[in-house]
């Protein structure tokens, strides 16, 4: 069996449903005098365990509010686990919302540098990859226009282009492939395949079930913070759709894990 890039055991993330608004100084004092009423707690994730072998894609599906994004943020070290543990081997690049740290007044090109440096690249590397990033984003002359003039699709392109050019060992993607036109989506899928060949591991949240079938080796169905099902994409997607009385999506021509059961289980797939 291949080495795991991500190991998660009994992960729990807790939020406190405490304030309507952020407290003011005096409401803080009042609360202090009232002797810390225990705020209502809410487990966004509970008892989540899974492993992702190196160079595989894990797709996550589930309805809104099921903890998908929370899980990605935990993998990206933004949330810290309140329960359980998590082991990550490799540099993580996160694409949770696009254009993290984009400054609206600066041009696309300037933002490539800022965003790249925020993601951890140094200036020399960025100088070297600048053209590749610009080509991938394919924004034409708009690359020199301020980002505030971009459409959300264009921002997404730019953000994605920077993030995949960081050469991540682990890429955490939250549904960004949904934006952008069909052609760009195709190129994204292509790029992810390239990264996989280089040995990168991908965890992605997707509502596009076809894309899940097409790209992922494993699929997890999250429901109210718990793992409802974890297994081969075809099985999970099928059960997921059956649970809501929807017809099965058309199977893509190419699938990361073929449906033929004789092709083996999960761990051999990579």
């Amino acid at each position: 069996m291949t080495e795991s890039a991500i190991k998660v055991r009994d992960l729990g993330i807790r939020f406190f449903l405490r304030y309507q608004q952020r407290p003011t100084v005096h409401s803080g004092i009042v609360r202090f005098l009232k002797h810390h009423q225990k705020p209502e707690e809410f487990w966004a994730l509970r008892k989540v365990s899974f492993e992702v072998p190196k160079a595989q894609v894990m797709g996550i599906i589930g309805s809104n509010g099921s903890g998908k994004s929370t899980l990605l943020r935990t993998l990206a070290r933004i949330y810290f686990p309140d329960e359980g543990e998590l082991e990550i081997r490799g540099r993580v690049s996160s694409l949770i919302s696009l254009g993290a740290g984009f400054h609206a007044e600066l041009s696309g090109l300037q933002n490539i540098y800022y965003n790249g440096m925020i993601l951890g690249l140094n200036k020399e590397t960025l100088d070297a990859r600048r053209d590749a990033i610009i080509d991938f984003a394919d924004l034409g002359p708009f690359i020199d226009a301020p980002v505030r003039t971009y459409s959300s699709g264009m921002r997404a392109r730019l953000g994605f282009s920077v993030a995949v050019n960081v050469d991540p060992e682990i890429l955490v993607i939250d549904e960004v492939l949904v934006v952008g036109d069909a052609q760009f989506r195709e190129r994204c899928a292509q790029k992810i395949k390239e990264l996989l060949l280089k040995g990168a591991t991908v965890v992605m949240v997707q509502h596009n079930l076809e894309a899940i079938l097409q790209m992922s080796h494993q699929c997890m169905w999250l429901d109210k913070g718990n793992v409802k099902m974890l297994g081969r994409p075809y099985d999970v997607v099928k059960t997921y759709l059956e649970a809501r009385d929807l017809p099965m999506v058309p199977l893509p021509l190419e699938m990361a894990v073929p449906i033929d059961p004789s092709s083996g289980g999960l761990n051999e797939a990579g």
């Binding site: 609360r31 225990k38 705020p39 543990e85 993580v92 996160s94």
Partner: protein, 297 residues
Amino acid sequence: MSGTPKRRTPVTRIKASAQDGARALDFDTLLIENARKLVSFRRYLREMWERRSLVRVLAARELKGTYEMNIVGFAWWMLEPLSLAAVYFVLVKILQKGTPPSYVVFLLASLIPFKWLNSSLIGSMGTVRQNATLITDVYFPRALLPVTENVIGLAHFGVGLLVVPLFMLILGVGFSWSLLWLPVIAAVQLLFSLGISYPLSVWGLNYRNLPGLMGNVLRLWFYMTPALWRISRVPTRLRFLIYLNPLTGIFRSYQGAIYDHHAPGFDLLWTAFIGVITLVFGSWYFTRREAQFGKVL
């Protein structure tokens, strides 16, 4: 987060090893487990050092977003300290007849550093929220954010200082070697201001009306410091109280270097001492709290 019932934050143990080439994060293996402590402080400092270029990036982004980086933009940038000087010049002329006009230089020597202190501290209180999209999307040592605020303030301070020689020339205040002390004094101020910035940036996130209050508290503190007035106004037996105030050392040293032509005294050393203490405790406190940022935002 005064109400977090269990004041514990989970530990992140990071097994880092050097590796060349492009890096998304500077760690090859990281292990987060539920041992209720954040990264060890020393390791955190190292991580900060590795990502120090981020300060420059964030500060430049902010400055470039505000000012155009050319001659006109730069002139515009100078306009702010210039107008400040003008305001006080008129005030001194009207309110205090008989004071020499060179008194403006004395005032500027305090006002420009105070602007730095003020903007850094007020900025720090909002910095976590302002960079919310960064914090919720990318990991980086959050302790770099207050540093960035202080560096932005420092850039303004530097430009502001350029105005001072102009007034010194016009108003006939001589130049002296004591001006060479300015970087030392600025370093002490940075130390002290950074130390306070850390807890303030945590509280500023948690209590949304704090910046307004702190603005006035700061101004009060400033007026109670012998910055716009001379310490000689205070009776001798009460003076030790004034000297206990860490801001005294900073502002008296600026006046000494720019207006009175003498080197800083021991009061600056006292400020440096307090500065180191606040910095150690402030940043320690900050690192204990920063794990909450993602969830609060």
